[in-house]
Amino acid sequence: MASTHVTKRAKYKTTIKDPGTPGTLRMTFEKILFVPHNPKSAGKLDVEFRYIKGQKHTKEGSNKPPWLNLTNNQNGSFIFEFENYSDLQECRDFVGKVLAKGGEVSEKPTVAYPDEQLSAAEMELRIKLLQEDSELQKLHKQFVLSGVLTETEFWATRKKLLDREASKKTKQRLGFKSAMISDIKPSTDGRTNKVTFNLTPEVILQIFAEKPAVHRAFLSYVPNKMSERTFWTKYFRAEYLHSTKNSIAAAAEAAEDEELAVFLKQDDILASEARKKIRRVDPTLDMEADEGDDYTHLPDHGILREGSKEMTESQNELYKRSLSQDINRHAAVVLEGRAVDVELEDTKAVAEALAQSKQKSSNKGESDGDTSRERLDRLSRMTEIEDLQGPNTLPLAPLCIKDPRDYFDSQQANALRSSGDALGEIEQIKCGLSTQEVYGSLRESISSIKAMGLKEPIVKPEVAHQVFDALTNSISNTKYHIGKNPQESVLDRLPRKTKEELLHHWTSILELLKHFWASYPITTTYLYVKVNRLKDAMSNIYPQLEEIKGSVPSELRHQVSLLVRPMHQALDAAIQHYEASMQKRSAQSGERPNGYV
């Protein structure tokens, strides 16, 4: 369908029950325009397509009239009734095309009313998540497949999981290997004198990063002047010459072959980079500045040939490169990390990507106005002697939690004892401030915010850290105890099977409760149905819990009942609430909630 718009006669209905306003529906790639026949009626509509999330329609042959339901991203919907099914199909295809262009929603038509449209990728992700996490899979099986929860409901509470999974797709970047490139050892075939080097794009990237001159040579020579193969052959020939430490031979070879000379010479790019970098180093390390004041080491002054000063051969120095230089360079590159983030396939691509990233970083480097400021700050921080300073406590009032159990309710029964400890510890932290002081400090900070606006860290990181420490103290405590002494955990003393069952029940109860409480207040029939389903599922758990209690050996029964008790309590509370609200509902059944069909 090549047409850029569709125009059909249709009726626009605000709800399903609405008899509809007759008019003309015109859809272009950008927007949907509905003009009623009767200009006085109110049903005029003008919606941009980008707000449309998906479409639903009735099937031909069902007893419903041809409806097209377009949902927008605020969960509202526009329903159009067409004169016949072919019109509907045309419009449906058009909408499908436009939505596909938006790339958001697949065209998989679904009929089930509360279902959402899923892209294949999302589906895949969910399947993957289920496969990876057996507990999740169990829950899914238990509730979704048995019909207690729908697929959407199940995942709606796990949006975060889906998000995180999605963001994880950008993998952690790998750094360079710690091994040096000179460690690439050739393999020989054993018969001839030929050696073979295996170069991976990984290694090549490392070579380029460590030797900018080779990188530059590669960009300018390959493939115009020589093939990539010849290039690397020359490179390793140069490396071989270098490894023989025979600088005279290297000089001779370099004189004959100017391309080879590029590899043998000192790297001029490195030298110029070094000069640039040296301006940015910490002044407390800058030994280069010392040379400025060193008047005894003028050429030929001072004492030569003493143990410390050794001779350097000046001849052929151009072609000498020491191992220490290589090591330093290597470590610097490893430290800098990988600047390029491309799929390593093609050498050429690698070379160009590296060149680009260098360009960027050099541009960035030019605007280093405040780096010197930063350097000075650092210097002054370093000059202070930390332990001579007074105790550097920041004004803070520890949070006072009346019942830590409220806070740490995710902890299990065995955590209770240690959280009791934590309570004690929290009390031990001296409340260094009186209420007035706290109030004063609050006022002060508010007025400073008024004056200066919010500054970057609103709370000082140190303060935040300290408060956080106090809060999490007991969590880490519990973990510590459990990790340290397995005997202290009640669960570990139970038989394996019972333990697993208990844990499973605990998670499934949590899941159910989560959905249950999330459904209140009940505003739609859908929720009403859902709550009923959940309630049934919950009441099924009681006998199961009793069964577990009965199955354990008598000496552990008490422990188990301790563990089960909070579950019971939670369930009881939910069911009580359910019953109470049911009564209320029946009392005022005359009124119907919004959207009740």
């Binding site: 002044p283 390390l285 030994m287 010392d290 050429p299 143990g307």
Partner: protein, 758 residues
Amino acid sequence: MKFQIEDVTVYFPYDYIYPEQYSYMIELKRALDAKGHCLLEMPTGTGKTIALLSLITSYSLSKPETSIKLIYCTRTVHEMEKTLAELKLLHNYQIKHLGPQARLLAIGLSSRKNLCVNPTVLAAENRDSVDAGCRKLTASWVRAMAAENPNVPTCQFFENYERAASAAVLPPGVYTLQDLRVFGKEKGWCPYFLARHMVQFANVVVYSYQYLLDPKVAGIISKEMQKESVVVFDEAHNIDNVCIEALSVSVRRQTLEGATRNLNRISQEIDRFKATDASRLRAEYNRLVEGLALRGNLPITDNWLSNPALPDDILKEAVPGNIRRAEHFLHVLRRLVQYLRGRLDTENVEKESPVSFVASINSHAGIDQKTLKFCYDRLHSLMLTLEITDTDEFLHIQTICDFATLVGTYGRGFSIIIEPFDERMPHIPDPILQLSCHDASLAIKPVFDRFQSVVITSGTLSPIDLYPRLLNFHPVVSRSFTMSLTRDCICPMVLTRGSDQLPVSTKFDMRSDPGVVRNYGKLLLEMVSVVPDGIVCFFVSYSYRDGIINTWNDSGILKEIMQHKLVFIETQDVVETTLALDNYRKACDCGRGAVFFSVARGKVAEGIDFDRHYGRLVIMFGVPFQYTLGKILLARLEYLRDTFQIKEGDFLTFDALRQAAQCVGRVIRSKADYGMMIFADKRYSRHDKRSKLPSWILSHLRDVNLNLSTDMALHIAKEFLRKMAQPYEKIGGSGRKTLLSEEDLEKMGDGGMDEMLY
């Protein structure tokens, strides 16, 4: 905090003070009261610098009628920056408590290279090119020319500074080199000349040793300092070496060739001037008849490195007649170069005293001692007359004149050694003639004579009685402080055997033994796997280090080390070393951890701190003895034996151990810091070697740690690190306090103090 030491109120910018800092201040105050010199050893990591600065500034605050100037000498520019940063902290504190009367002016002074802000001049590579580049724009004759011809380039910053004239002053405050540059850029004034000018008015001047000790520089920079100044040499354990190096010159073939080129150029210039402006040469002649003393009136920009060693009275004498005329002087120099060339063509090693050398010059080249003595200044004057600005091209002839003046001035304490080749490379002919100074007291004598109080201080001055003999002075106070520790935060160990229980050493006959090299490698490999953050390794020399690293590289040990930590290496190229250090710190900061390979007696060992996580372990591979077969060292040892009755062996051990102590001492910065030190050589377990270590290291060297093998050392290291990771009480446990608060000091008063401190 502030407290009272006798009649002086000391302002100290921290809430607590270490007891040794307090007693250090007391001793320092006594020396200042007595107006004498003093020698103070206090371990690194106890805040020497801040103690010193706060006492001296407080002392001068309490005695406003006598303006005491502090001249603080550091060895390196980065130490200068650090000192100024500490002073800034102190100054802020004093201003806060005393108000505007505590204001002082403190500046750092360095060469043009570090202070210049003119981008065209700064583009030059080294110091001498920068100096020359500056002169090309600011020399008096260049500026005179520019006044007539606007196309002649000048330096905008200097012109602005000149125009501002007496208005160009620095407001009170503490200025690091960076601050000076920023200030100069802001105002458009040349920071270098501004700083040079402000030296006279500053209360605190921080600069390099050379500015006081090297007579070439001292003559111009330090001549206006008044006698009441207090001079401090910080990190002065190597001061004797600095002194003798300042007065040593060597001449090689390249020097002579360069000098000949320079002479040719000078003779061309003379011819040119004769043709165009003969009056200048005549004016110079007349001035020389009157003596050299007139130099003081030269414009500041024409000033040069001054005479290396002339006593004041010589400056008033007339220059000898035979070198007053330019071409005559040129002939003398040519003859001198010719003579030296002849001396270099020798087959054997020769050693001579300056007296006989001068006699020989006199008979062969016809130049007498007095003429030699004046060479340096005569050259200086000639180059000014000839308006030569590219002074960096004339270094060779300056060296020759330097040599001539030294040899003509000093009859004792020097020797001239001519070697046809380097002993370690006998097949390469590389003749060298060296004038080496043996007597450190010669260079430092003017300082002791001129200034009322000279403080020599360092973390390692043991044995402390040796320094007064080497430098020939009489300190009124000479004290060595130990370190009071809250916990055993340093852990020195002597490792005598490797993992295979065979002895390790860098003794000459053992050092190339593959077993020793492997054992050293294994030691480091084990340590990198247990020690967090930074590790520093010191080797005895560059060549030994390069050899050992090559071997480790070949045997794969280096690769294994790299699995744990990044490796950085000090090279002779300072730029590369600086970058390597910067990266090393980054690696430690980001938690990756790194190893730094350095060399004892190298630049890093002298000046860089590896405090806190930058150095949790130092390994000293071997004993850093000097190259004992070197002719110069032998001559110096002979001189020391004859004049000071110091035995050769004693001096060598003293020298090696102070270097070793210096290397390992760089790990500690404060008492909250901790670090381990491994002396990996069997010779350290001998009492005669070990006992030369400073007492603060010795007191922590337990007997069980004296004879360890690699596995035992590893075990101790693990234990130590575990212990150090625990929280501890900063104030110190029962009995001795290691941190004093203001109340503690008041309580101590006079009576209780002694038992608490000593």
